[in-house]
């Protein structure tokens, strides 16, 4: 809201920007002076820039779309003129080629199956990661003993990339599907655990002591003080976890397959079909963004108390 008041074009003349200083007496001369000081109507570039910089949601979306359009234009030109400055574009597919193969995929049935299978895997693996990661993180955050026993595993296993897990995942799990789910699950799990632990540990000790001195029991403190304090951090963990789950999924889907967007991309690589590779990459990007957004939306109600507190 503050941003709006300093915007010259939209400041109502009767309301001075800051009310801290006592306003001058509203003599007719003063009003006239104020009116004269009102900025002139903007023309040309200045007007354009004012519109571009406008904070309205519509403008923000316009800017985002514009950014993507500019990116695609740049990509198109880079391919067209075969840009070769450090990075080479001479064999990269053009946006038009990628679009053509995208449309072709959309017209077939199999592409939807690839997307559906991947979304399903994400949903299952993510649910497991959430239902294990959050409770474990809460316990680790509150209990030093549990933390000492679990944290070494988290720290050692966390940096291992999903692809490195492939051979063992095949050996250990009974089916291909469970190997893929396991790799995806691991990707999501660690960010959720770590952010939950961090959230719990960030709970202001003052609040805990205050609650205790008011006679709250351990369970009540946990429910009414620690959990709400940890929620923002948990929400962050859930978003990050969703993102990591998607790129682990790609590694998992290399193992086997038939279906899945990661498998689709990998097969396209093996047949050197660059447009399809890019279709696969962008599909992963869009699905990843959409599901992270869904997570953000889903966690919003839990963070409402925080908005009120501000």
């Amino acid at each position: 809201m503050l941003a709006k008041t300093i915007e010259p074009g939209v400041t109502p003349p009767a309301q001075p920007p800051l009310q801290v200083v006592s306003p001058p007496r509203a003599t007719p001369e003063a009003i006239e002076a104020l009116q004269r000081s009102k900025p002139e109507k903007l023309h040309g570039w200045a007007a354009f820039l004012a519109v571009v910089a406008s904070p309205s949601p519509l403008m923000r979306w316009t800017r985002r779309l514009l950014a993507i359009a500019l990116g695609i234009l740049w990509w198109h030109l880079a391919v067209k003129y075969q840009l070769n400055v450090i990075v080479k574009f001479d064999n990269v597919s053009s946006p038009a080629e990628v679009w053509a193969s995208f449309v072709k995929q959309l017209n077939g049935k199999i592409f939807y199956r690839h997307l559906f299978v991947s979304l399903q895997r994400i949903a299952i693996a993510y649910c497991f990661a959430v239902s294990i990661g959050i409770p474990l993180g809460l316990l680790m955050g509150r209990s030093r003993i549990i933390n000492d026993f679990v944290m070494p595993y988290v720290e050692i296993l966390r940096p291992i990339p999903a692809v490195a897990w492939i051979p063992l995942a095949i050996l250990m799990w009974p089916t291909e599907e469970s190997s893929i789910l396991y790799i995806t699950f691991l990707g999501a799990l660690f960010p959720i655990i770590l952010n939950t632990v961090a959230g719990v540990q960030q709970t202001p000790e003052v609040l805990v002591r205050a609650a205790r001195s008011l006679g709250a029991r351990q369970g009540q403190i946990f429910r009414h003080v620690v959990l709400p304090a940890a929620l923002p951090s948990i929400a962050t963990g859930l978003s990050v976890g969703m993102g990591v789950a998607w790129f682990s999924l790609l590694a998992g889907e290399i193992i086997s397959g038939q279906y899945g967007i990661g498998y689709f991309t990998w097969t396209a690589y093996h047949l050197i079909k660059y447009p399809d590779i890019i279709v696969g990459m962008l599909s992963i990007g869009f699905l990843g963004t959409a599901s992270t957004f869904a997570v953000t939306l889903a966690t919003k109600p839990f963070l409402r108390w925080q908005a009120r507190a501000r």
Binding site: K88, P167, I170, T175, G257, T267, H270, L271
Partner: protein
Amino acid sequence: MSKTSLALTLAALLAGSALARAETIEIGIGHQSTVTNTVPGGVILEKLKLLEKHLPKSGKYAGAEYKLVYQDYTSGPPITNQMLAGKLAFGVMGDYPLIVNGANFQKSGKNQSRLIMITGYNLKGTGNAIVVPVGSSVYSVEQLAGKQLSTPIGSAAWGMALKVLRDKGIYDKVEMLGQSPPVGVTNIAQNKIDAHADFCPWSEVMEFRGTGRKIFDGSEAGIPTFHGTVVTKDFSDKYPEIVQAYVNATMEAQAWIEKDPVEAATKVSEWTGIEKEVLYLYFSKGGISTFEGSMKAQWVEALKYDHGLLAKEKEIPPLDFDKWVDASFVKAGFKAAGKDYDAIVKTVVTNKPDDTSLPAAEVWFAEGGIKTYGSIKEATAAVKEAAKAGKKVNATYVYDKATGLKLFSNVAFFVEAEGKLSAFMKKGDADAFAAKAKGKLVSWGDITA
């Protein structure tokens, strides 16, 4: 040579030699050390430093420094990717990936690739095979109906699997999955997939390790399988002498394998980790592969067939074979070695049943090396004796009576009839022979116990 072209050549030589003084020429070679048919074009060159021996050092190359970059991959497509990116000049890969390479280069409309030689072949297609877990109850392709078959998509094994499933009319009934060799081999060992189709030498590796059993050999599909080398046209136009050096060096590597297969198998095994017993199955006389570089009519025919399949199934772009296949280097290589290319290109080595020029069996003793036997009976006696003396036997090789294919004895089916032992790769053939000759089916375990 006309006057102008002579003048141009001289000018180029002069300009070249002036440039060459400070020039470092990078030669990037993408190869697949674990894929047996490609080893002469990659890992052997690297380890025996054969390319260094043949690289030009005079004329425009006087004073030139060479930087050799060998990159090892487990399949062909990543090599094509590197070549398209301009990072590798040479790529050694199997028939199907070669086509994907040529077609994609041609589609790019810019740099092109050229198929310059063959590194190793099998006329009938052995090397590719369909394998089931060793304890499986599946003994033929027909029994795969309603089951899962995995294979590296876009590989020669995939092409073979497609053809055989179509031929047998069970294409719709088999669920086909994409799995790379390491994944498929693990799944067979873990009994997690019904069948896996793979290229050389994975089927034999699984047999040797005792985890898998062949139910279909590539030879039954009747399409040759081979590996070869592609080079980018930019590179071969700029440095034809280096391409020639590569071809000559690869021919030397091929001769090295033929001269002493045991030594070659032992060395390549040390370099790549593939069991030497498996490599010997490929390298030896009467073995699976022949390592000879000429560009035979059969190879071009097979490539055209493969391209048709790829175009139909996976929409691979068109390929102008007349431009893409360039036998000039390999011709010059044979000529330089004092061999008659025209005669060699028309001959092809292949296995035939009951080949009397080959011993009936070979036993590789851990100490003492390989000994040959005139009959399987004699070999079993030797193996029994070794067991009694506590001596280790690495492997025993026999030949399939139906096709003449060289096999590991531990996966063969044997028929005992009229006091003689005959070996078979497939149970069906063994059963038929046993019925005809009134013999009985026995296993290697039975006859060496």
